[in-house]
Amino acid sequence: MSTITNSIFTPETAARFDHLVTLYPVKRSALVPMLLYAQDEVGYVSDAVVAEIAQRLDLLELDVRNVLSYYSMLRTKPAGRYNVQVCTNISCMLRGGYEILDHCKHKLGIGHKEVTADGVFSLEEVECIGACCWAPAMQVNYDFHDNLTTVKVDEIIETYRAGKGKDVK
């Protein structure tokens, strides 16, 4: 029941969304997963994404924006090709998470939620990413890097910069 013609998403995602809507007693429940999938595909939640999701769920765009703005993991501006997320939650903090973050800031020359001029990297300080036992940890796109040291971070960033890193979206 692909109700949307001219979807901005790929046919696979569109089909997935069509299915997602049917899973819940209330259509609206599919909103958060939809936003996440859309973000993975488009890179951020653009106005077009908001418009199409609102249409799919019979919501007002305002409703979508209300939810969207609530969650810090959802972006409304494009991130870099590699989105570096450094955890500074308690375990990582105790094991030097802030040093890693500061190192990344220094190395990439950008701050929290900023993107490098060439658009390759973006940096985010995030809450727990579930890697406490290997703290400090960070996540680049959906790829985990743990037991970090500043040296290791340099290597990881160089790997990505050279285009050799896994590019999981």
Binding site: D47, L60, E61, L62, D63, R65, N66, S69, Y70, T76
Partner: protein
């Protein structure tokens, strides 16, 4: 529901089970403070101000979400509760700027009141407050984020109340904000804006000064104005609006319109026009001196005396030489009942003509005639708030009568009323409707026929004739049905629809019209064939004493036809703009002597030989009748030097014509009343005495310009206008049912709906800067960004 008895602060209270504790306490005179609670909206329990101690409950409970129960023991003011409320206020004030001296809400702010009561002005926070710039969401709505306490009243008011859903909450925690529906990224100027009905209900609901009105902001302070409650001059609902007035060098300027005490027939509601479109009264374009056309064609400012003398002399001369029947009189939809009555009486007794008409916006003649002999069949506006089932045929209340739409939405939401909508277009109220029938284009007549039992009309009645049966069954199944009829139905169609409705025993009817006193103009006999109270001209009944010509006169179009044919010697237009409305060729009036009483130089006024500057409905006293037949008091709020009320001008012209003013306005009657000799020394006593005299119709009317003298006559002569003076004077509405005689022969359909929407209001609307701004804004013109100063 059954009553339960419980104790609050040692006082025994009885209330129906299911009542919210906060409401039950309020009815018993115990105030529980609350920011987020708003009667009639869904519960939020966001502000924690209404906490009370209920025995046997482990913690303090919110009174706004607790329903009363038998034997409940509640304490509303204890040191514990005071402490809790104070802590709540401290949290709210953590980010609230203390800019009360500047804030528009200062003086009528709930947060300010509560801070005064519980004292929490000193903050324990050392962190700087979050500051954000003020935002201009629309020409009439401004948002100042730091003042917002996130009570969500505006969000619920806009969504549930107005069914617009233009406001939402974005972000979270202390950075949460109220956000309008046009995101900055979608707006040409990269600022957030509102796309909505611009009703201002969010501003009204806001307990603090976070949402402020573009029309009123930073102009004055609440205690500096006089607050005059009167009736809105715009649509036919007749909402009570409170005008904030301050005196200026040339009169009294209206600076604010709002629904201050919510005591009117409109309850909580007021729309864009009632709230902002009072500013035509302050327009610089108003005419403030009488103008008389000179032989060379110029309009020359003259004194009042001269203008009246010329008008009276000329009218008398034309009446005496060419006969009263050569004179036409056109009244307005925004005159008070007294003025409308006086105008027709002037035309019929002084000018001796029945050529009286007004711009008809609904067929009230057929409406009352179809209900002749019935009692209790006309609906009051109050019925739309509570009737269990409502059928709307034609019309679009959301745009034409926003207050009616509000009532219907509330009725559906709060009372689970069943709403049936039959319309040619998909009007917004169909969203609340249990059943929506899309009527075929021009199919209202066929629909009325079908409902009345003519099955053959089905094919022309609805786009989908198969839907008709189910719709009819559902409607017929209702025991108590309110039938709201749009102005599309007239004459025989209207009659048939009402005949169908009369087969439902509990049915009541209302016919929607367009302006503040459209109904009153018809009731008061501004019609060529009907005297006041729909008394046919040939059988004048109570009006026999006036010696009215026995033949019906020319209607509005015939008057202009006569003018074009050179048969109209004079035309007297009071507060109406028929030339623009009916597209009259200006050349038609070249041989006619035209007197126009107007506020502005309208198309009609431009053709006039004499222009008399008139006061508007906000500048005079009297009464008006809304679409439903509810009579309300109009009080003088604004004032403009150089204008006079239509009432006074009619009397003056009659006087200059040599008419017996005492016969026209029966003043000087009521002198049997006590003139003060029995009054006590205290003025308070004298005031009470005056109220009593007025209520008993005994007050002296010493002036021929006193509308109450005419109200006496209306009360005495007009069938159905047996009103209660005390009810009127105390600012309450009362429902009237003018009883018509049975139907007369078929009449020409002259109803011309105004086609006004939310942001237009006939000729008047063109002169309201607020309405023009909103129209431009809604049409998508780039906003005139008023740069607001940062603080």
């Amino acid at each position: 529901m059954a009553d339960v008895t419980f104790t609050v602060d040692g006082k025994q209270i009885t209330a129906p089970a299911g009542t919210l504790l906060i409401d039950a306490c309020k009815s018993a005179g115990i105030e529980i403070p609350a920011f987020c609670y708003y009667p009639g909206l869904s519960l939020q329990a966001a502000c924690r101000m209404c906490v009370v101690r209920i025995e046997k409950m482990p913690k303090l409970a919110t009174a706004c979400t607790t329903t009363v129960a038998e034997g409940m023991v509640v304490a509303t003011e204890t040191p514990e509760i005071t402490q809790a409320r104070k802590a709540t206020l401290q949290l709210l004030l953590g980010n609230h700027p203390l800019d009360c001296p500047v804030c528009d809400a200062g003086g009528e702010c709930e947060l300010q009141d509560m801070t005064f009561k519980y004292g929490a002005a000193d903050s324990f926070y050392t962190e700087p407050k979050n500051h954000r710039e003020e935002q201009n969401w629309s020409p009439v709505v401004y948002f100042d984020r730091p003042r917002c306490i996130l009570c969500y009243r505006c969000v619920r008011m806009c969504g549930e109340g107005m069914d617009v859903f233009a406001l939402g909450i974005q972000n979270r925690g202390s950075s949460a904000v109220i956000a309008p529906n046009i995101a900055p990224s979608l707006s040409p100027d990269n600022l957030a804006h509102l796309d909505c009905e611009q009703c201002g209900m969010c501003i009204d609901a806001c307990p603090v000064g976070a949402l402020t009105s573009g029309a009123y902001r930073y102009k004055t302070r609440p205690w500096e104005m006089n607050h005059v409650t009167t009736v809105c001059t715009h649509c036919g609902d007749g909402c009570k609006t409170t005008l904030g007035v301050r005196s200026t060098s040339d009169g009294a300027e209206i600076v604010r319109g709002d629904n201050r005490d919510k005591s009117g027939i409109n309850g909580d509601f007021l729309c864009n026009k009632g709230r902002y479109a009072f500013d035509f009264a302050n327009s610089q374009e108003r005419i403030t001196t009488p103008l008389v056309r000179q032989p060379n064609g110029d309009l020359k400012p003259v004194s009042w005396e001269e203008a009246f003398t010329v008008a009276g002399k000329k009218l008398r001369e034309l009446r005496d030489t060419r006969g009263g029947k050569s004179i036409g009189v056109i009244g307005g939809n925004r005159l008070t009942n007294e003025e409308a009555y006086l105008l027709q009486k002037f035309a019929r007794t002084v000018l001796g003509t029945n050529n009286v008409d007004h711009h008809r916006t609904a067929d009230y003649v057929t409406f009352t005639q179809a209900l002749a002999g019935q009692k209790g069949r006309t609906a009051s506006w109050n019925d739309t708030k509570s009737y269990p089932a409502v059928l709307i045929v034609g019309g679009d209340p959301t745009n034409q009568a926003p207050g009616t739409a509000w009532n219907l939405r509330s009725d559906v939401r709060l009372n689970k009323a069943r709403l049936y909508v039959a319309n040619t277009s998909e009007i917004k109220l169909r969203r609340q409707a249990r059943a929506f029938l899309q009527v075929a284009p021009f199919g209202y007549g066929a629909l009325a026929g079908y409902l009345a039992g003519d099955a053959s009309a089905a094919s022309n009645a609805a786009l989908d004739p198969t839907a008709l049966g189910g719709f009819l069954e559902a409607v017929k199944g209702e025991e108590k049905l309110l039938i709201l009829i749009g102005s599309e139905l007239r004459g025989a169609d209207l009659k048939r629809l009402i005949e169908f409705g009369l087969t439902i025993p509990g049915a009541k009817f209302a016919l929607l019209s367009d302006y503040a006193n459209s109904r009153g103009a018809a009731d008061m006999g501004l019609l060529p064939d009907m005297l006041p109270g729909y008394t046919p001209v040939p059988t004048p009944g109570p009006f026999t004493e006036h010696n009215i010509p026995s033949e019906p006169g020319l209607d509005l179009l015939e008057i202009f036809d006569a003018a074009a044919a050179g048969n109209l010697s004079a035309l007297y237009v009071v507060n109406s703009n028929p030339v623009a409305r009916y597209g009259v060729d200006p050349a038609a009036l070249k041989d006619t002597f035209v007197i126009v009483q107007e506020m502005f130089l309208t198309e009609t006024a431009q053709l006039a030989d004499i222009i008399l500057p008139a006061a508007n409905l906000y500048e005079k006293s009297g009464s008006v009748t809304n679409s439903y037949g509810d009579l309300q008091l109009v009080q003088k709020a604004g004032d403009r030097s150089g204008v006079r009320s239509d009432f006074e001008m009619i009397v003056r012209i009659a006087d200059k014509m040599g008419a017996d003013v005492k016969a026209l306005v029966p003043f000087g009657k009521g002198l049997r009343a006590d003139m003060g000799q029995s009054r006590g020394a205290q003025s308070g006593e004298a005031d009470r005495h005056a109220v009593w005299l007025t209520a008993n119709n005994l007050e002296p009317k010493l002036s021929p310009f006193d509308p109450w003298a005419i109200l006496d006559e209306i009360q005495r002569l007009v069938p159905g206008y047996d009103l209660l003076r005390l009810q009127l004077l105390s600012g309450n509405d009362q429902h009237l049912e003018p009883a018509a005689a049975a139907a007369t022969a078929s009449r020409r359909d002259l109803v011309l709906p105004s086609g006004d929407g939310l942001f237009t209001s006939g000729t008047l609307g063109r002169f309201s800067p607020a309405l023009n701004d909103v129209q431009r804004y809604q049409a998508g013109e780039p906003l005139i960004q008023i740069q607001t100063a940062a603080d």
